[in-house]
């Protein structure tokens, strides 16, 4: 630690940019995140039926998130690489604890009640799994050998299966994706990719028959023909596509969306919030949000590319792609091209733990971005 600090000071002799660097803040990333949070609070105010309670709570969580992000960014990458196994183990144990002592609602058991707060271990795993896999692969030869691939599969699948049991298929798939992204970026051989693809196809019937619950199957069926069940499962999709479609080019105006304000739109302030944005701000609003997301992902990929360690590269790349996956899955399900899975829209959807987790990820990215250049000794 002492030596690190010494090096860092040597490399950062003053200046604005330098100062932010010494504070481990990536300014472009920070500005984009602030903009996104602003948009999010604006839409949330309308989506919650102009309920300031939600907005205040969300703003508070965002502040906590920013704090957590800055905190995480202060630790050097070597620290994360070294202790990633510990985080992973803690996550795994709390997942097991959920299995036995968890609390929940609507038939799902996802939370641990810690007395002062509720904690969702699967959220922690969204960061811990890619970190663990990155740490594992970062130290190994590339492209990963068969035994490494196997190890990664085990690392990933243990938490994934535990989360499927809760059941929380959406989160499980996203965590699996985050592990997969790491190994893909690490250069997984094409033949493994092909095998994985074929296995995935083969797994679909198995999943359908043995793993998926009835309500999950229903969601898939509903996607295929929402009109079959207009007042039941199809309702959400019909109402959200109607909200989006009726927004048109420029939207109905802030807080003037009839679908959302009159409660036709379900879950309007959580998973389906993009429909509120689309209804009230139109395609212009959707494009603007997507542009912000694109900038954010772009910046993250640049950080990944410039990372000095393989661990940094992998974790940064995986987090960026996972982040994109969130957006893709959420926007697809709300607009009716994917079945409904409980995936919130980052920074816009209302939701506690999820938002803090997001910021933790960006804290890692800031840490990577502001890593001091290593002194390279050319032999």
């Amino acid at each position: 630690m002492l030596r690190d600090d010494f090096v860092r000071r040597m490399e950062s002799p003053g200046g604005d940019k330098r100062r932010s660097r010494s504070l481990h803040i990536d300014l472009p990333l920070l500005f984009i995140l602030i903009s996104l949070c602003g948009v999010g609070l604006l839409v949330l105010y309308s989506a919650s039926g102009q309920n300031l309670f939600y907005v205040k709570r969300q703003a508070l969580l965002m502040l906590v998130g920013f704090g957590a992000m800055f905190g995480v960014a202060q630790f050097p990458m070597r620290f994360w690489e070294r202790w990633s196994f510990l985080f992973y183990a803690i996550g795994l144990m709390s997942l097991l604890a959920v299995l036995f002592f968890g609390v929940g609602a609507k038939g799902a058991q996802r939370w641990l009640d810690l007395g002062f707060t509720r904690f969702q271990p699967s959220e922690l795993m969204k960061v811990a799994v890619p970190m663990m896999v990155s740490a594992y692969l970062g130290k190994r030869y590339i492209p990963p050998s068969f035994s490494h691939v196997l190890a990664v599969l085990i690392i990933t699948f243990i938490p994934v299966l535990l989360i499927v049991r809760q059941p929380d298929l959406g989160t499980a798939l996203l965590i699996f994706a985050s592990g997969f992204f790491v190994i893909f970026l690490a250069g997984l051989r094409k033949r493994y990719l092909l095998t994985a693809f074929i296995l995935a196809l083969a797994a679909i019937p198995t999943l359908w028959m043995f793993v998926m619950r009835d309500y999950q199957k229903q969601r898939v069926l509903t996607l295929l023909s929402p009109e079959d069940d207009k007042l039941g499962a199809g309702w959400n999709i019909i109402q959200s596509t109607t909200a989006i479609g009726s927004g048109g080019w420029s939207g109905k105006g802030w807080t003037l969306g009839t679908q959302s304000q009159l409660n036709f739109l379900p879950e309007s302030h959580t998973d389906f919030i993009i429909a509120v944005l689309a209804e009230e701000f139109g395609l212009v609003g959707v494009m603007t949000l997507c542009a912000l997301y694109a900038l954010l992902i772009g910046r993250c990929l640049v950080i990944a590319l410039n990372s000095q360690s393989q661990f940094g590269r992998l974790i940064a790349g995986s987090l960026s792609l996972t982040f994109f996956t969130y957006i893709f899955v959420n926007m697809s399900m709300v607009s009716g091209i994917l079945p409904v899975v409980g995936v919130p829209l980052p920074f816009i959807s209302y939701g506690g733990t999820a938002i803090v987790t997001l910021f933790l990820g960006f804290g890692i990215l800031m840490a990577i971005s502001t890593e001091p250049k290593r002194i390279r000794i050319d032999l």
Binding site: G245, G247, W249, L262, N263, G282, L283, L321, F328
Partner: protein, 624 residues
């Protein structure tokens, strides 16, 4: 564990990573584009569809109920009113568990099995998201209880409606009729748009006859509702047009007097304004309270009305068909004179019976002591004393064809065309009628029976009143009607096309004879002449309920009252310048002179005093 890092090749790692990242970027770009394409498709290409769907979602058109036209009597007294009432309705779709909701409501306020039964019945007929009434006429207390517990009652709603109210209750029951809930048969016949704001319709009486005028035009309310159906705001309003108000010729004071005069008797009275044909009073006793029906009558109440031996639901005035008895004698006499089959000098000897050639059985004279009316009985005397034998003989001379065809012109045997539904035509028998109805040819015996208003002949009290008015007006085509004006616009008065040209001497003769029925010492209705300040012309009648064999004597003390003769009376007044004509019957009243005539006199007294302007005291006098 071997640490691979020792052999790591940072450049190679970076290269492979960059390659993979490039692939990822391409994939991100492509999938991102797919999602964007979806939003462009929804928001631009299919925007119109979704905009429409979104509007259909939130905008609902609610019918705005027009208030039903009011009904007033001649003097502006309200006979049919609309009164605000509160009903508890349920929207099936908004209740998650209907049974539980009903149980909850049942625990709060009193819900009868009848309410439940009716509710379940209408539940089957309702349109989606329609309010189905559960309980009518909520009390203030019940409304309070429901309001306080509103949070428990998702799907239930208390709403205000206008309900028909008849302030006079039974008094105008048969005339005004009532409104009731639209039944299945009616709902198929009506224009569902016109009736979208109401669940009631005129069932009978004026309420039915003038349904189109009374209904009004339904308005609409475009409201914005949220997903739970709660109305958030009103977007556009088209006000309903209230129904037209009816003003009747009926005078509630006269009606009240007539109604009261029947006491506990069964019967009917119709009083007509001779000049206009307007119905001044129309009573069928006993009556019923139409308010029972307006608020949804219970099966028990309905059954008790339906099965009552007095048949209160039966409108005797227009549907009761009785043998007119002697009340048709003035008309038949007039026909005899007019057709020249008899003259004013024509007279007969009455031994008390009449024997026709070839028929062994004699026809008795019902209205004389043994020995008959004596010698030299002319038409006047035959009317005054109600001599049957004169009319037996005259009818054979005149023949059924003339009697029948002229009588029809005076309103017998056909509906009068009054503005009420369900009027019966009675029977004016003729050769063709008997052939058609009985498949038999006409015999002189039939003519003789007809000549005293018995046999096949049947007439409603309304027809008797019309006949009386047409005689009173000396042959004017008096047509009865109840409604004088609609929204102040007076309906075309059918004043007086001439019915037929009859010699005025004949009119004078018959009018005088009818006047003498009341005012002569020999008149059958002389009992009502006492203290009369004006002249009444009339004719009593008695209609047999059971046939008495010729050799038997009718003795009321030996038979049940339900088989006593009906008492009838037709009259008009004042005799010199007739204003009011009356036809009335008292079922099983025995004698027209004693049971029916006094009622007519009472009504006429009040009418004459009203005309004279001192009606206030007149009514008070009679009623107290």
């Amino acid at each position: 564990m071997i640490n691979d890092a020792a052999f790591s090749d940072p450049a190679r790692e970076r290269r492979i990573f960059a390659g993979r990242l490039l692939i990822s970027v391409v994939l991100v770009f492509v999938t991102g584009l797919v999602v964007m394409a979806r939003y462009v498709d929804l928001q631009l290409t299919r925007h119109e569809d979704f905009a429409t769907h979104s509007d259909n979602n939130r905008v609902h058109v609610r019918p705005a109920t027009p208030s039903r036209g009011l009904i007033y009597d001649h003097n502006g007294e309200l006979l049919a009113d609309n009164r605000p009432t509160y009903i508890l309705t349920i929207v099936r779709e908004r209740s998650d568990d209907l049974d539980e909701l009903l149980t909850t409501i049942g625990g709060l306020i009193d819900i009868s099995d009848n309410d439940i039964k009716r509710f379940e019945k209408s539940l089957k007929r309702r349109k989606p998201y329609e309010q189905t009434p559960l309980k009518y006429d909520l009390t203030e207390q019940e409304r309070g209880i429901l309001a306080v517990n509103g949070y428990l009652l998702d799907g239930a709603e208390v709403s205000a409606r206008l309900m028909r109210f008849y302030p006079n209750g039974e008094l105008f029951g048969h005339v005004i009729g009532y409104v009731g809930r639209i039944n299945e048969r009616e709902s198929q016949a009506i224009d569902s748009v016109k009736y979208s704001g109401t669940d009631s319709i005129g069932k009978i009486g004026l309420e039915k006859f003038y349904e189109p005028q009374l209904l009004g035009e339904v308005g609409s309310e475009h409201v914005e509702t949220n997903a739970r159906g709660r109305v958030m705001r009103v977007l556009e309003n088209i006000d309903p047009q209230p129904g037209n108000n009816l003003t009747l010729y009926l005078d509630s004071r006269l009606q009240r007097v007539a109604h009261k005069a029947f006491k506990d008797e069964r019967g009917a009275l119709v009083a007509i304004d001779v000049k206009t044909g307007g119905i001044l009073a129309m009573v069928s006793a006993p009556g019923y309270d139409p308010n029972l029906f307006a608020s949804g009558i219970s099966q028990r109440n309905y059954n008790s009305l339906l099965n009552s031996p007095d048949r209160p639901l039966f409108d005797r005035a227009i549907r009761g068909q009785y043998p007119p008895g002697s009340t048709i004698k003035p008309l038949f006499g007039l026909i005899g004179l007019h057709s020249n089959t008899i003259t004013m000098d024509y007279a007969i000897d009455d031994p008390g019976f009449f024997v026709m050639e070839g028929i062994e059985r004699p026809w008795r004279d019902h209205n004389s002591k043994r020995g008959g009316h004596g010698r030299g009985v002319d038409l006047a005397e035959a009317i005054i004393e109600s001599c049957d034998v004169f009319f037996y003989k005259m009818s054979i001379k005149t023949g059924i064809d003339l009697l029948s065809s002229y009588s029809e012109q005076f309103g017998l045997g056909r509906i009068t065309g009054i503005d009420l539904p369900g009027e019966r035509p009675g029977i004016m028998p003729s050769r063709q009628w008997k052939k058609g109805a009985r498949g038999q040819s006409w015999f002189n015996g039939d003519t003789i029976n007809t000549s005293i208003g018995q046999g096949f002949m049947l007439a409603t009290p309304l027809q008797l009143a019309v006949m009386s008015a047409r005689i009173a007006s000396r042959g004017k085509m008096v047509t009865p009607k109840l409604v004088k004006s609609i929204d102040g616009e007076i309906l075309a008065s059918s004043e007086a096309s001439e019915l037929l040209e009859i010699n005025s001497d004949h009119w004078d003769y018959v009018h005088r004879a009818m006047s003498d029925v009341v005012h002569s010492t020999r008149g059958t209705a002389k009992g009502i002449s006492k203290g009369l300040s004006y002249k009444i012309a009339g004719k009593t009648g008695t209609a047999q309920v059971i046939s008495i064999k010729a050799e038997e004597e009718y003795d009321s003390s030996k038979i049940d009252k339900s088989q006593w003769d009906h008492a009838l009376f037709v009259a008009f007044a004042p005799a010199e310048d007739p204003q009011i004509a009356i036809g009335l019957i008292v079922e099983n009243g025995e004698h027209g002179s004693s049971a029916a005539a006094p009622i007519a006199r009472l009504v006429m007294d009040v009418y004459m005093k009203m005309k004279a302007g001192s009606h206030q005291t007149a009514v008070a006098e009679v009623i107290n």
